[in-house]
Symmetry: C2
Subunit: 450 residues, 2 copies
């Protein structure tokens, strides 16, 4: 291959086997140069090009940008898809910034189009100065290292072959090849934070250190390498932390605490990602809060994060999209012979008989004569106390639950068998010392939970 | 303990068992507040205070700052050491910035004084806004993650109990307690980059995001946790990479290449630190260069880094303070009977006899009649060729060395036995096919290297 240097550097970054490229062209100098570069190398590298343009309708002249792109593609004989989207409306509907809405609409448009036309790769015109701006923007907004690792040349189907070039290289190429482009007026609008960074703040840094941009690019590269490292470590150990995936994700607290805090915060990120599907609106301060929940002395606690609910339940960390539905309170009368159905679907059955059959966690027997009727089955209430068999005195039920590490949600659906104000049985766990069946007890009432 | 919150937060950070504290006091509001806080908690926590002040002599009024500190200590009944140092002269002599020189002189003064008076800890008045400034300053100068992890509350004997406070908290405390202080005029001098950051650039960030500082502080904390992780990983595997410490540090290239690049760059940093004693002037670009040296296709190469020399020699990476001294070129006449001493101290001895005794790497025998006199022993020169025994034709000596993975420094001190222009023996390695001793050879010359 004998190509001039800029073409060569782009060609070198093209994954082999690429047959069809979707190129995002706004009509600005960056994307026009990108398109020209790709057109130049396309026949030698045997790929075809399809151009995509999304009209954001933010400015009156935006449709003329679309016309420019259409015209350029006709002139260069390239197929082209142009669509239009009301970004202002989208931003208002989703309550996000115009920048965010534009980015989201663009990505969706490009992604869908690439699928439709069978393009393996979507080429974007971001360059090194964009990289520096993105870094500073995220720094300003409080991103952690992962966010600061900014954009990569290759990121799934997205491809940014100009990322190692500077704006001035691109402008020079445009003038060498007599390219025409449209100036995006919104680039001058200092309402957009990125523009303010570009035109006002970053130049002050360059004034202090002319090599400022290179330093940021090296830092971003280091962060990307680090991110790759963390990703591997997380992948290697994540599954060993999972206790259950039945009702949300449950991770082992002791295993999490045994990992180094630097790794742990990445494991927590990965857990949130698995549960939520993405990490939008998750900031480092949220991860610190989860870490605090994990290491605090309180054995049960909850956090509401954006689109995510995190709880510590004794030795596990429980993550769900939303908080679990709490069971309905219940208070049911239990006949001497018959059954009641609990809100969670389990059944408590009572039967009377004269022979003892023996007790277990799920079955208890009482001397019928010692009980005052009617028997009731209800959920736990604050202030409840009971007198466990084998213990003198009474115990607060809250304390009993806590000593037995019963999780909040389980407490609320645990059936209590009561007679008047007396708790006879904490269903499935422990009976009280009331109405124990003696040898000569007479009639027995047998209660089963299943 | 029943202390107001600021005192309490400082007291909580004091390592238990501290008996004597050296407090660095410039006379500015930060250090006066620090001193007041420490004085307040000192009797309850049972430590004594010694004050240190270094007069930088940068401003005409600097000696009045020293007077202020002396006066304050008299008033508060605290022992105090005041010294003076010509920072401008130090900066000029060491060719470093005034800021750097000031920092260096301060640290040395404080460290020495702490040793002398037996203080376990040196308290510094850096606060959260200093932390943000330091971060931005290092970002601007192209630091990697390690540099960006900035200052810690505890760092060896250095202690920064105000690091989690903001400047406004400190000023508020000062006014609540009617403290007096001196304004450091140099804080307003925008010649100093830090002041320009503080007064011009950082306020623009706060204007955009009022929580900017908190984001930076969280990021610094994350970096510190990460640094601790990397430190442990490096410590765990460093020694397994060391091939030799005889003449500088030699690390195994294959083992380095087998580690993840994120870890590798930290291992290289650790290696430079071991050899140099510190990492001053080592930037991320230097580490990248070492990494390139390691992974490049050239099997031998060198890099001159600040106060450090790094070479790849086949499968090892060799790091020294400076490049190794190259051996003097030599060209010595070897008598038939007798010896010559090589520049590296080894000896080549010649003796004539009639019986063959056999050859080895260190001994060769030639048929005396087949040689033209005199024999010479000299070092390798570009263009040298020889005809190895057992091979037809000749071989360039450079190629021979390279095939045998002979390192550059070893090549230069390898003795060549020559007769006229003919290389008879690459000392210690291989003989040529000239003048091989046959059964009826007559007189033999035997050459030994030891």
């Amino acid at each position: 291959m004998n190509l001039p240097s800029l073409e060569h550097s782009v060609a070198e970054l093209l994954p082999s086997g690429t047959r069809k490229l979707l190129v995002a062209v706004s009509g600005g100098v960056d994307s026009v140069v990108l398109l020209h570069l790709l057109k130049t190398i396309s026949s030698e590298l045997e790929f075809t090009i399809h151009v995509a343009h999304l009209d954001h309708r933010l400015r009156p002249e935006s449709s003329s940008d679309a016309d420019f792109v259409r015209q350029l593609c006709r002139q260069w004989d390239l197929p082209c898809s142009i669509e239009s989207c009301d970004i202002r409306q989208l931003a208002a509907r989703q309550k996000i910034s115009l920048e965010m809405a534009g980015r989201q609409a663009r990505r969706e448009f490009l992604w869908t189009l690439a699928q439709k036309i069978g393009a393996e790769l979507i080429a974007l015109a971001h360059h090194g100065d964009d990289q520096v701006e993105t870094f500073m923007l995220r720094l300003l907004r409080g991103s952690g290292q992962s966010g600061l690792s900014a954009m990569r040349v290759h990121q799934g189907c997205w491809w940014r072959p100009l990322l190692n070039l500077r704006r001035q290289d691109i402008v020079k190429y445009a003038s060498q090849h007599n390219l025409k482009w449209v100036e995006d007026e919104s680039n001058r609008d200092s309402m957009f934070l990125r523009n303010r960074l570009r035109s006002e703040i970053i130049p002050q840094f360059y004034e202090i250190n002319p090599r400022f941009g290179g330093g940021i690019e090296r830092l971003v590269q280091q962060f990307q390498v680090d991110e790759d490292y963390w990703q591997r470590e997380v992948t290697a150990i994540f599954d060993s932390l999972v206790v259950s995936r039945e009702d949300g994700l449950r991770l082992s607290r002791p295993k999490l605490l045994a990992t180094h805090p630097a790794l742990r915060v990445r494991l927590l990120r990965a857990a949130l990602l698995q549960v939520r599907g993405d990490l939008q609106k998750i900031e480092s301060v949220h991860l610190l809060a989860v870490d605090d929940l994990l290491s605090a002395s309180r054995s049960q606690g909850e956090l509401n994060l954006p689109e995510c609910w995190v709880a510590r339940r004794y030795e596990s960390l429980w993550i769900r999209r939303g908080s679990p539905a709490l069971p309905e309170p219940f208070d049911l009368t239990l006949p001497d012979e018959g059954e009641v159905k609990l809100p969670d679907g389990r059944i408590i059955r009572a039967s009377t008989q004269v022979e003892q059959e023996g007790e277990s966690a799920m079955v208890v027997e009482f001397s019928l004569a010692a009980l005052s009727q009617p028997l009731r089955v209800r959920n736990w209430r604050p202030g409840d106390r009971f007198e466990p068999l084998g213990m003198s005195g009474h115990k607060r039920l809250k304390r009993f639950f806590s000593d037995n590490r019963v999780e909040r949600e389980v407490r609320l659906r645990t059936p209590l068998l009561v007679s008047g104000e007396t708790i006879l049985w904490v269903g499935g766990m422990r009976r009280s010392r009331h109405a124990v069946v003696r040898c000569d007890a007479g009639e027995i009432i047998r209660i089963e939970l299943f």
